[in-house]
């Protein structure tokens, strides 16, 4: 016991002495920024725990929950005795300290785009955070997913190791954006559809995917459900504040904005926007549903009575407060999971320093039945000259059931 606390003191002490060296300081600062850009805290910090990076947060995957480990410099339960090589192996090769495979819930398939220097800097930064003694049992997956060796096969299928290579034909800003999106930002982890084994469907890169009871929208330049109507500024404002003239961040994206992108430099957000706007989508226009369709007629009535007071009769909402359903991807033609979830359960967007309002949407799950929610969801994707496939009541039923036990 005494020995353990002494070690803690030594490690913590060495961490602080490092920071006294100007060169080391800038390395730590760079590492801190990359840790923010990589959104390490989102998985490795239990919200409200006030114990940054101490792990213990269960991360939901289609195969079961994985608990994020402690990455504070605690020698016994964290990464206090890890070497820089071991840390690099974990981040960029998906290997644990003993060489076992990590699960790709840890986005090493994105982090592999970072350089060795990037990873060393993050490591240097993590060595300076408060060590927390917190033993985390990570491997909580059921059989057969608990067999880590299986990840060897997975890696062969889905993991391409290798640092980011700039495209000389593109601007430095585009390249910076591509690096941030594909590397530390690991946007594809949520926004790229997954195969049944949980690997990226690379042909549908960033075209939107379901996870944790949400649909992470299409963030390509796709005119149908993507970001085609977003200006570069729209994206920058959204990533920095969680709100813009079109939409408001909720769910996991709200957390990303809060912990990561709102803390990034505006130039980097601009670079991310520049890159995303260059990524093409699938651009499949759905056939519009006639205004006389029963679901559209009912949806129109519900929208007028229940939705228009905030989102407006024209569907344009109020910038930074009520999302514009005309322009938002959530109300667009792609997977309706998020739209239906928000109608059923309500949502609270985040407050940020720049925009503290954190507006909320009430829950309609008691007032509206499945057919009515489906009707209004169908309506908002086909009103105002837009088109999207009808949302069947069965989808509403499924989302209701899927989200029933979710606490957030």
């Amino acid at each position: 016991m005494l020995g353990a606390s002494l070690t803690v003191l030594v490690v913590a002490g060495s961490g602080r002495s490092l920071a006294n060296d100007p060169q080391e300081f800038s390395q730590i600062e760079r590492g801190r920024y990359l840790a923010v850009a990589s959104d390490c805290a989102s998985c490795h910090t239990v919200p409200e725990s006030k114990k940054p990076f101490a792990g213990g947060r269960p991360i939901e995957t289609p195969f079961g929950n994985i608990v994020a480990p402690n990455i504070t410099p605690d020698p016994e339960t964290g990464i206090g005795v890890w070497t820089a090589d071991a840390f690099d192996n974990a981040l960029r090769k998906g290997r644990g300290r003993t060489g076992s495979h990590l699960y790709p819930a840890m986005p090493y398939n994105a982090y592999t785009k970072m350089s060795r220097r990037d990873v060393d800097d993050i490591f240097a930064y993590l060595k300076t955070v408060e060590p927390v003694r917190n033993k985390v049992e990570s491997n909580t997956l059921p059989f057969p997913f608990n067999i880590r060796a299986a990840m060897g096969v997975w890696n062969a299928l889905y993991f391409k190791e290798g640092e980011f290579k700039p495209n000389p034909e593109k601007s430095p800003e585009w390249n910076r954006g591509a690096f941030l999106v594909e590397g530390p930002g690991h946007c594809g982890a949520c926004h790229t559809p997954k195969s049944f084994l949980g690997g990226d469907k690379t042909s549908q890169h960033l075209q939107g995917s379901q996870l944790q009871g949400w649909f992470a929208p299409n963030i390509t330049n796709d005119p149908n459900g993507g970001l085609a109507k977003w200006s570069t500024d729209d994206l920058v404002v959204y990533l920095s504040s969680g709100h813009n003239r079109i939409t408001a961040a909720t769910g996991p994206m709200a957390e990303e904005v809060e912990l990561s992108s709102s803390k990034m430099q505006e130039g980097d957000l601009h670079a991310i926007a520049t890159y995303l706007q260059s990524v093409g989508g699938k651009a499949e226009a759905a056939k519009p549903i006639a205004a006389t369709d029963p679901a559209m007629v009912a949806g129109d009535a519900i929208y007028r009575d229940q939705c228009s007071a905030c989102h407006g009769l024209d569907g344009k909402g109020v910038p930074k407060l009520f999302p514009s359903l005309v322009d938002s991807g959530v109300s667009g033609p792609s997977d309706p999971t998020t739209a239906v979830r928000i109608i059923l359960r309500g949502a609270r967007s985040i407050g940020t320093k720049r925009e503290p309002t954190a507006p909320g949407m009430p829950s309609y799950g008691t007032q509206l039945d499945d057919a009515q929610v489906a009707a209004v969801a169908t309506y908002i994707r086909n009103a105002w000259g837009r088109s999207g496939p009808a949302v069947p009541p069965s989808t509403v039923k499924d989302v209701r059931a899927d989200t029933a036990m979710r606490p957030d």
């Binding site: 409200e48 009535a301 009575d305 007071a309 009769l313 949502a347 057919a371 009515q372």
Partner: protein, 272 residues
């Protein structure tokens, strides 16, 4: 120390004691407590503290499926009135609001059902009101000082009404009378020319007119105003939240049918 109603609501022991102070109930924690409480209907109707004490810091409290929708009147048998009382009340309601070719009367629009459900609920029991003694008679402008709540009052009023009718009309009850006689009785009570035994007939008429008309115009979820008949009659568009497109239309009638908190028929897709 706190009153009994919070116990009925099963308010959780709200503040965790930790160290020397209260634990920091996180906003998520408070959210869960709040949600738990939202299931306690007694609290909802009372509208008092629905949650135990919490600390709010860092962010606005939030939980999914939040809200305390109103408790709708359940269809089915009378919940407060006896059969005889209900008959009398429906008959009274139908004279206060007589049926006409365009709009049903107080009975068919559910006004007696409304009053029944209100009397069976917190209102009837004076929940939330100050009911400590002593009860002393006062001036009218000092407000009601009765120990009895509306439920007891209606019981005594309706019994006394039928009793009075029975004495005057050879054993008949109020509901059996022809409309003209009913109106005479009610006018007599209203003016004070007809008195009841053991009950204040004038107070009854005053309250009955108020409650019947309230049931007629309240949201149909409370049992009256069936199919929003009263709202349709007067042109009130109901529980809407947006007239932004109608502010600038002088003397132009709002075109949409009313909507209740429970919706309107048009909300449900009609299969072809």
């Amino acid at each position: 120390m706190y009153d009994r109603k919070t116990e009925d609501c099963r308010v959780l022991q709200s503040i965790d004691v930790e160290d020397q102070g209260m634990g920091q109930a996180t906003s998520q924690g408070s959210a869960l407590r709040r949600r738990e409480l939202l299931t306690g209907t007694a609290c909802l109707l009372l509208g008092m503290s629905r949650a135990g004490a919490t600390q709010i810091l860092d962010r606005l409290p939030w939980e999914p499926n939040a809200g305390a929708p109103p408790t709708a009147a359940r269809p089915g048998p009378w919940q407060f009135f006896t059969g005889a009382e209900a008959r009398a009340m429906e008959a009274v309601a139908d004279r206060i609001i007589p049926p006409d070719p365009d709009t049903p009367g107080g009975k068919d629009s559910g006004c007696a059902v409304f009053i029944d459900r209100q009397l069976a609920g917190p209102y009837g029991k004076q929940d939330g009101l100050y009911v400590r003694p002593p009860f002393q008679p006062g001036a009218k402008n000092q407000g009601a000082q009765s120990k009895d709540g509306p439920a007891e009052q209606y019981r005594s009023w309706l019994g006394a009404l039928d009793h009075a009718v029975s004495l005057k009309f050879g054993g008949k009850v109020f509901a059996d009378l022809p409309d003209a006689d009913k109106d005479d009785i009610l006018k007599g009570l209203e003016s004070g020319s007809l008195t009841l035994v053991g009950a204040d007939g004038k107070a009854f008429m005053e309250q009955a007119v108020k409650d019947v008309q309230m049931g007629f115009f309240a949201d149909p979820i409370y049992g009256g105003n069936r199919d929003m008949v009263a709202w349709k009659m007067i042109g009130y568009p109901g529980a809407r939240y947006n007239y932004l497109d109608w502010v600038d239309r002088p003397n132009e009638r709002f075109p949409l049918l009313p909507v209740s908190i429970a919706g309107r028929a048009e909300w449900t897709p009609r299969t072809r």
